[in-house]
């Protein structure tokens, strides 16, 4: 795998930019896709946001100063893109964030790209009602298995704060699922 520093250099040079961008897309497309998909839930929306993320990266790579790692910079762009996508979606639909989350989960039932069973649907319901930060941390830790240090760099939050958020999120989800299991 190409070293991050070399990739950044190539991305910032006009003559190597196109090929380096191809490498960047190949390296990050899957990880970023799943990161975005867990936020927006729907495949088509995830596809739109992922493409916008890469285009933003391409356009702004000259502004990347190397203060953070490239992957955390890209992840940050992806996170912001996904969150602002949801904000504009809720504005367009004229609903609040909470109601939008509810509708997104509800839409999964008829989504051809969701084949989860009842418990997996309940899991999405449980995640949907979490506060934004806890939701992000839970997805990044539990499903993407990122290290706290990596999440800390992406979300620009202290590791201690992240651990607390993750602990709280896990407890809430477990409690929700246990409660739902009794009714299943």
């Amino acid at each position: 795998m190409i070293a991050e520093e070399t990739l950044v250099n190539q991305l910032q040079q006009t003559e190597t930019q196109a090929s380096a961008f191809g490498v960047l897309v190949e390296t990050y497309k899957e990880r970023l896709y799943w990161h975005i998909r867990r936020i927006v839930l729907n495949h088509d929306d995830a596809d739109d946001v992922l493409q916008n993320t890469f285009i933003k990266v391409y356009k702004n790579i000259s502004n990347f100063k190397g203060d953070s790692k490239l992957y955390s910079w890209i992840y940050r762009i992806a996170t912001n893109e996904a969150l602002s996508f949801l904000k504009s979606k809720s504005r367009m639909m004229g609903v609040g964030d909470g109601e939008l989350q509810e509708r997104l989960v509800e839409n999964l039932k008829a989504d051809v790209y969701f084949e989860g069973d009842e418990i997996q649907l309940k899991l999405q319901q449980a995640i949907a009602i979490l506060p934004e930060k806890q939701k992000l941390v839970f997805n990044m830790k539990y499903f993407q298995e990122l290290k706290y240090e990596e999440i800390s760099e992406i979300l620009e939050t202290s590791v201690g704060g992240l651990k607390a958020s993750y602990h709280l999120a896990t407890k809430k989800i477990e409690a929700y699922l246990k409660e739902q299991k009794e009714y299943l």
Binding site: G22, V25, E26, K29, E30, Y33, W34, R37, R38, H43, D47, L50, Q51, F54, I55, Y58, K59, V112, Y113, F114, E115, G116, D117, I119, Q120, L121, L123, Q124, Y142, F143, T170, I173, E174, L177, K178, K181
Partner: protein
């Protein structure tokens, strides 16, 4: 006695034993937490393979789009300005036209229709004030020419109170 059939009548789904280990270990690893590790999300076949091409295409569009939108916006503004100018001129002309419309522009049929449909509460005196009776000729109302002799004869035979016609006053 018929020998016991040793053939197993039961069947297992295809690939069941190959998948069994995998399923067992998955179940073991998720033991202890009620939170499932799998989410149930799927994506279209070959999605990641086609992503690079889609991105290249979008990037090209974006780069070309840097110039095009400005031009098209300009065109749009010109078009809007032109339409607005035409509207103003057309409206002005129309307004002027409206002011010029007079009694002469009314079709005779419209006037007749109006009198047919609306009950005019006018006395014969009021009508006489408006209608220039003195200037009227018998031919204004009838196409055929009547001789005075015939008219007088008709009135004589059909009018009960000939004197009330005040023919002499109007002479």
């Amino acid at each position: 006695m018929k020998p016991f059939d040793k053939k197993n009548p039961f069947k297992a789904p295809e690939g069941y034993f190959e998948e069994f280990d995998k399923k067992l270990f998955e179940k073991l690893s998720s033991e202890g937490s009620v939170i499932p590790k799998k989410e149930g999300f799927k994506l279209p076949d070959g999605y990641f393979d086609s992503l690079s091409d889609k991105l290249q295409h979008k990037l090209k569009e974006e780069q070309q789009g840097k110039v095009i939108p400005l031009k098209s916006y300009k065109k749009y503004y010109y078009a809007v300005a032109a339409v607005a100018a035409i509207l103003v001129v057309a409206l002005t002309l129309n307004l002027n036209k409206t002011n010029e419309i007079g009694f002469d522009d009314l079709a005779q049929s419209d006037i007749e229709y109006y009198f047919d449909q609306n009950e005019l509460d006018l006395t014969s005196y009021e009508l006489a004030e408006v209608v220039p009776v003195n200037e009227l000729e018998i031919t204004d109302m009838f196409d055929s020419n009547f001789s005075e002799e015939n008219v007088l004869e008709y009135l004589n035979e059909n009018t009960d109170y000939f004197d009330e016609l005040n023919l002499e006053d109007n002479e």
